[in-house]
């Protein structure tokens, strides 16, 4: 599983996201910014989880639940590239 934001999505350091296709804009919190950065670096879920649980006070299962919820929102907003299995 490898997810990335679409190439034309603008992402600022402060977590402001702009989709030029729709004109919609979004904001991300710190944790979401880190997850998106790792996703865009091509990291797998297991690698993203390893990193996040090493930095943050969260368990693996809990993080995975939140990750899937976050990914579903990115998908809902149509911000992801076509996903590859």
């Amino acid at each position: 599983m490898n997810m990335k934001l679409k190439k034309n999505i603008a992402l600022s350091e402060s977590g402001f996201v702009f989709d030029p296709t729709t004109g919609d804009s979004y904001s991300l919190n710190q944790e979401a910014r880190e997850v998106v950065r790792l996703m865009n670096e091509g990291k797998e879920l297991s690698e993203i989880t390893d990193y996040m649980v090493s930095i943050y006070n969260v368990g693996r299962n809990d993080f995975e639940k939140y990750f899937f919820d976050f990914a579903s929102m990115l998908r809902q907003f149509r911000l992801l590239e076509d996903e590859q299995d």
Binding site: Y26, L28, F67, F70
Partner: protein, 450 residues
């Protein structure tokens, strides 16, 4: 290295141009304690979900309401509306403050007696009174509020049989300028039916007409409707005195004062729009004092306020079971309290609060109960922080009607705890068990296992 506090990764769509023009804060502040007792401790000790009642809040609200009326009118009496919350501990709290009992069935009547209220301080309302109920109320010298002519004739017959003169009032419905007009209780004022009933009572001489009663509606936001109703009852009292040279002892304005809950579809929250006790008191007492009633013989003013007195005192505590995304991306949270125990969620936008701080991010959330029924929706849409499975929440203002209209359905009904004025919790109704439900069931012999 110490790990950083984690907040779930979150993306929020920025919507320009649709802020609330009133800039009202969304609910995010947690409710961690009730009357000084930690919510988590209450749930650990008494289970989840759990109803909690604040005795302090009951007494404070009651005294505030009483003061609003007593400071404007010489004689005022509250009668606790049993159907609003007839848990014995709640009723006894009101009775200890001096409140009489207002009941609408034989069951409630017996409950009032068992709570130590004198028969003469029980007001018997409602369209359903059996002959046995009337006999009992007559023997106990209770105040019988007659709802229709069939009842009037039955009470008259009981009076003849017992050789006693029951104390009665008639219930009167009327146009107070509000819609819908409640005309199902009592005799109508405008079409002359109420006056017919009064004439009937006065001419037979078998009943003692002590009062006039009305119940103009529920969750009444228009205080002027009470002024109109009080004027019309005062007008009847004056006509009775003129024609029969007898004074009405009391005028009973019923209930219907709104609590600070927000009705579904309301644009502004109830806590900002609901009239105060002073507003209601001003309207009612102003109308009575300005009427043609002889100031030397002002009748006792009785109020049967329920909802506005007890709603704030009740809390529902519970636990999150799960979170999930709906097909359109909306978040939903499933909790362990359903519409069967929070009956008022059918007409209120109840206020849900987390029991501890979890996140500053709020998300539009649908809150579902645990029932396997599509209608089990407690809030269609509320800005709510993400709570995790096992986190607790608090619903405010649930003291009215939920602990009487709740249904045992799929799950068992929870315990109810009252926190006394010293901050000590007391269990006032045990959590139900399977035995509570099956106790009255009988299995035919041929279906019993060997």
């Amino acid at each position: 290295m110490e790990k950083k506090e984690f907040e779930r990764p979150y993306i929020k769509k920025i919507r320009a141009g649709v802020p609330s023009k009133f800039g009202m804060p969304v609910q995010a502040e947690p409710v961690t304690h009730i009357d000084g007792v930690p919510v988590a401790e209450l749930i650990t000790d008494f289970g989840s979900p759990l109803f909690v009642i604040s005795e302090k809040s009951i007494r404070r609200t009651y005294r505030e309401a009483l003061e609003a009326f007593r400071s404007r009118y010489p004689e005022v009496q509250f009668a606790w509306s049993y159907k609003t919350n007839y848990l014995d501990a709640v009723c006894r709290t009101y009775h200890s403050e001096g409140s009489w009992a207002e009941v609408v069935s034989g069951f409630e009547y017996d409950k009032a007696l068992s709570n130590g209220i004198k028969g003469s301080q029980i007001i018997f309302n409602g369209p359903e009174k059996s002959r046995d109920d009337i006999v009992k109320a007559t023997e106990n010298n209770s105040l019988i509020h007659i709802d229709h002519f069939d009842e009037l004739y039955m009470v008259t017959e009981v009076a003849e049989t017992l050789g006693k003169k029951p104390r009665v009032a008639i219930r009167i419905n009327m146009d107070t300028g509000i819609y819908p007009m409640w005309d199902r209780f009592g005799f109508n004022y405008e079409n002359g039916e109420a006056w017919d009933a009064i004439n009937r009572i006065m001419m037979t001489g078998k009943l003692e007409l002590t009062g006039l009663h009305t119940h103009i509606g529920t969750y009444m936001l228009a205080v002027n409707a009470y002024a109109v109703a009080a004027s019309k009852l005062a007008d009847l009292a004056v006509r009775i005195e003129r024609k029969y040279e007898t004074s009405i002892k009391y005028i009973d304005m019923g209930g219907g004062f709104a609590s600070r809950n927000t009705l579904k579809g309301a644009y502004l929250p109830g806590r900002d729009t609901v009239p105060s006790f002073d507003d209601y008191a001003n309207a009612i007492t102003g109308a009575l004092l300005n009427s043609e009633i002889n100031p030397g013989r002002l009748p006792l003013l009785i109020l049967e306020t329920g909802r506005a007195l007890v709603d704030d005192a009740g809390y529902l505590l519970g636990t999150v079971l799960a979170n999930k995304r709906l097909s359109d991306g909306r978040r939903s949270t499933i909790i362990d309290a359903g519409v069967n125990i929070l009956f008022t969620s059918f007409w209120y936008e109840h206020e849900f609060y987390p029991a501890k701080h979890t996140s500053d991010h709020l998300e539009e959330t649908t809150i579902y109960g645990p029932l396997c029924m599509n209608i089990d929706v407690l809030r269609e849409s509320v800005a709510f922080p993400l709570l995790r499975r096992g986190d607790n929440f608090v619903v405010k203002r649930v003291g009215a009607y939920n602990m009487t209209q709740w249904m045992q359905f799929i799950t068992l009904r929870p315990a109810v705890v009252m926190i006394d004025e010293a901050g000590k919790p007391h269990i006032i109704r045990e959590r139900e068990t399977v035995d509570t439900v099956t106790h009255n069931e009988i299995v035919p012999t041929h279906l019993k296992s060997e």
